[in-house]
Symmetry: C2
Subunit: 493 residues, 2 copies
């Protein structure tokens, strides 16, 4: 790589001759690891012009550096960092700096101190990744995604790609969401009622900020989506965790002072329960009577391969009390960071203004690429392929789980991409996950899904969205075997 002349400054305080200072800067760059063997140095002409000094000074400094083996000269093509140059030390010296200001003291580490679902970054290198919510490279339609990205990068789409949007999102994506995604959820909306977000997490965050304040009461499902907990904690509102049962959130268990109810009605996260129609109607009736708002996280609706998906809560909402959240993270891939929210315009206007403050807008290129992929039918084809694969995997997994005598706590009648599991009472699944990881098996301990005042260590989640069908039986057998090991079985009385 070529080192730009702008990397060099003649600092005012330093001593020594100009020539010495240039040598020092080069040597420091090499010793700090910034300049690496093979990197080309600026020409003596360019560096001299940049520093406003004579060219001969630079040439002399370079010659000296060649002599000391920091640089090599390659005839007319210039000077390069030598392959024999001193190797930078592994540790990082900060000779010039005193002790650094400690921000932890200032910030109280209020953002970094939250529990997260543990997920190794190199999960795909494990033999049995029962991991949730990651993309499966074997199912994704690379070729067409590339073609769509290329179309979105075309000169014709330059504006959509580069514009600093504020008031609106990519009209092509909005159009597709309005005409083809929302109708599948029974929702009839206008453009002003939809906002594109950086995935469902971003939508939940925006909804929380717009709707809540320290004196208000938010309801979370228990167990529930862990990504919501730090959002509510940060807002300082009161959080009421309501236990879900086999049918999801029971409306009659809601506290009377609820202001905002967060629910994963269609596919409860993590138990996979689907809220029955009568509970949906009850929930919406109560929302009107007690004046609260419902935030519906409608994740994973595309993965209903066993039963037709039920209409969303939003489709039953005549008063505009439901904020509906959808995402392409599961159906396309999580790294895309693309989702949307649907609500009355008076809500969307606020969420849009807040989004602009925080990040302006989701990148135009991402929006346009997704719009092409969706509207050319590749999305439907991909979802169908995923459904078929997930259905096969689920069947194999179901058999393996039963054959190995493991206990399913929730699996959902619609399909989905995971089983919610229950280990014997005394098992700590965080520890179980640790042991299994050493054997190439990744499971998700369930602790993070539970309210801190009702800790639970025995549940865990097994997803089949990223594991090959052929690996499933052996993986499940390994889990069963681990549970029979002394460490875990001994604790059962």
């Amino acid at each position: 790589m070529a080192i730009p002349p702008e990397s060099f400054f003649l600092s005012t305080g330093a001593g020594g001759t100009l020539q010495q200072r240039i040598r020092q800067m080069v040597a420091e760059g090499i010793l700090s690891g910034r300049f690496r063997p093979g990197d080309r140095l600026p020409s003596s002409r360019a560096l001299a012009a940049h520093l406003g000094i004579s060219r001969i000074t630079v040439t002399l400094a370079y010659t000296e550096l060649v002599a000391s083996d920091y640089l090599t000269a390659r005839g007319r093509s210039g000077y390069y960092v030598s392959g024999n140059a001193p190797v930078p030390p592994d540790f990082h010296s900060r000779a010039a700096s005193g002790p650094q200001y400690d921000y932890a003291r200032l910030t109280g580490e209020r953002f970094s101190r939250t529990a997260r679902v543990a997920r190794p970054e190199d999960w795909s290198r494990f033999a049995y990744p029962f991991i949730y919510g990651q993309a499966d490279a074997t199912l994704f339609d690379h070729q067409n995604w590339r073609l769509c990205a290329l179309s979105a990068l075309g000169r014709r789409d330059f504006e959509a790609l580069t514009s600093d949007y504020y008031e609106r999102d990519d009209p092509m994506l909005i159009e597709y969401i309005l005409r083809h995604i929302l109708p599948r959820r029974g929702i009839d909306a206008r453009a002003g009622e939809v906002l594109v977000t950086m995935g469902a997490q971003n939508a939940l965050w925006l909804a929380g900020q717009v709707l809540l304040a320290p004196d208000r009461v938010a309801v979370m499902e228990n167990p529930g989506y862990p990504g919501l907990r730090p959002i509510l904690a940060q807002l300082g509102c009161r959080v009421a965790a309501v236990d879900v049962d086999q049918d999801g959130l029971p409306p009659d268990a809601l506290p009377h002072d609820a202001d905002v109810v967060f629910t994963t009605a269609s596919h409860q996260s993590p138990t996979n329960a689907t809220l029955p129609l009568d509970r949906r109607l009850d929930l919406l009736r109560l929302a009107g009577e007690r004046d609260f708002v419902v935030v519906e996280d409608d994740y994973e609706f595309e993965m209903s391969f066993l039963k037709p998906v039920s209409p969303s809560l939003k489709s039953l909402d005549t008063e505009g009390r439901v904020v509906h959240i959808g995402s392409f993270s599961k159906s396309l891939f999580p790294g895309l960071r693309l989702g949307y929210m649907v609500a009355p315009e008076s809500f969307i206007r606020e969420a849009r203004a807040l989004r602009a403050q925080v990040l302006r807008h989701p990148p135009g290129h991402i929006q346009r690429t997704a719009a092409y992929f969706l509207s050319l039918g590749h999305y439907d084809a991909l979802v169908n392929r995923m459904r078929a694969a997930f259905k096969r995997r689920r069947t194999v997994m179901d058999e393996a789980i039963r054959a190995n005598g493991l206990d399913i706590a929730g699996q959902g009648g619609f399909g989905g991409s995971s089983f919610w599991m229950r280990a014997p009472e005394s098992v700590d699944t965080a520890r179980l996950a640790e042991v299994l990881r050493g054997q190439g098996v990744l499971i998700e301990p369930g602790g993070a899904f539970f309210a801190p005042d009702r800790p639970d260590r025995r549940h865990y989640r097994l997803a089949y969205s990223s594991i090959a069908v052929s690996r499933i039986p052996e993986g499940i057998a390994l889990i069963a075997r681990a549970l029979q090991d002394d460490e875990f079985s001994a604790r059962v009385p």
Copy 2:
């Protein structure tokens, strides 16, 4: 487009025979504009399977809809929405819905009530767009950006593209920033000291959230970057606006209780002043003595084409009190939404955790594409092209401004992409912008840059980052002519 079977639901409450209800759903879809002429309906087999009813019922409903001209049958290829189908009304009926819940009452519209710099979305269709911060399609390197995007979409990079990062950013981008961007600003940092953000706006927002609270004091430059004002307002902290002079922010004018000082030291926004070295050293000395933190928005440093860029504040910071913010929005394009921040690890850790809460991470594909574009040298080439073009435009503009007797309030000695202008005392530049817009000239009225308690209507900004050099003289002449019109000149005593 094909209408998916999932768009159809048999709602439980509705009356009528199954056949009638299907006809109703199709007609409603057409009348509401969701289904459009030429759209293909699901096959009778697919729809029947989806709804769990007999196929003949669907076929009979379709036949009836053909008779009433809602649909047309095209032999074996199926049923389509007819070109003669009733046209949906322009207004949007919500027969089924009552009045919608009013979120404005709940939210107090606290996010949407903030002033912004006015900028028409269709600016590129104006003949004389002296508009700031937009991409210039004539300078951008389309072809190589496309190639880089394609590389980033390759199978080898699938993980970088799709992963749900949390703890880290794209290592390839971080590596480039550490080795090639930051050294040009005199900064030597480690990977844990850098966070990739959704542009500079997002970085400012994160810094504000991490560093400030309602009882703390934030300093803003006056005039200063308008995007910062709503961030600070939202935090509820006390905002002290400090007037800048020809040399930027005067450290001796800082309030004694300042906690965080936001500055655009290298290129003051909008006056273009560069903070001299002695003021930089004073500012950092005061930060240590009075225990405050400095947030340095180092935007546009690449556009120093008249003088070598001065090292950043961060490069002089021995105590870790400077949070340094950079962005690719100006040098690549604003729709990219990509920037970074550099600070001690104890700060970056908090900012990263907050970022995860709000949006998880900037999309992997964007990060990787930028990493390729940067590391293959296309970025340097683009910046050089932009510098050359901006230098030409600036010269022409400078001459035109002087020839027309307009008054420059700040232009900066380094280069940049705009002039900060001053109209005669009684002129309201918001009104001037309105008048000029009618003549195809876009200028930016300066009001939004000033603290609300020190309103100023006479300044305006003229950028040359998106206007062709050939348009400049005529555009400037039009501005001068407008200022001589009765409406504006009459007010001067």
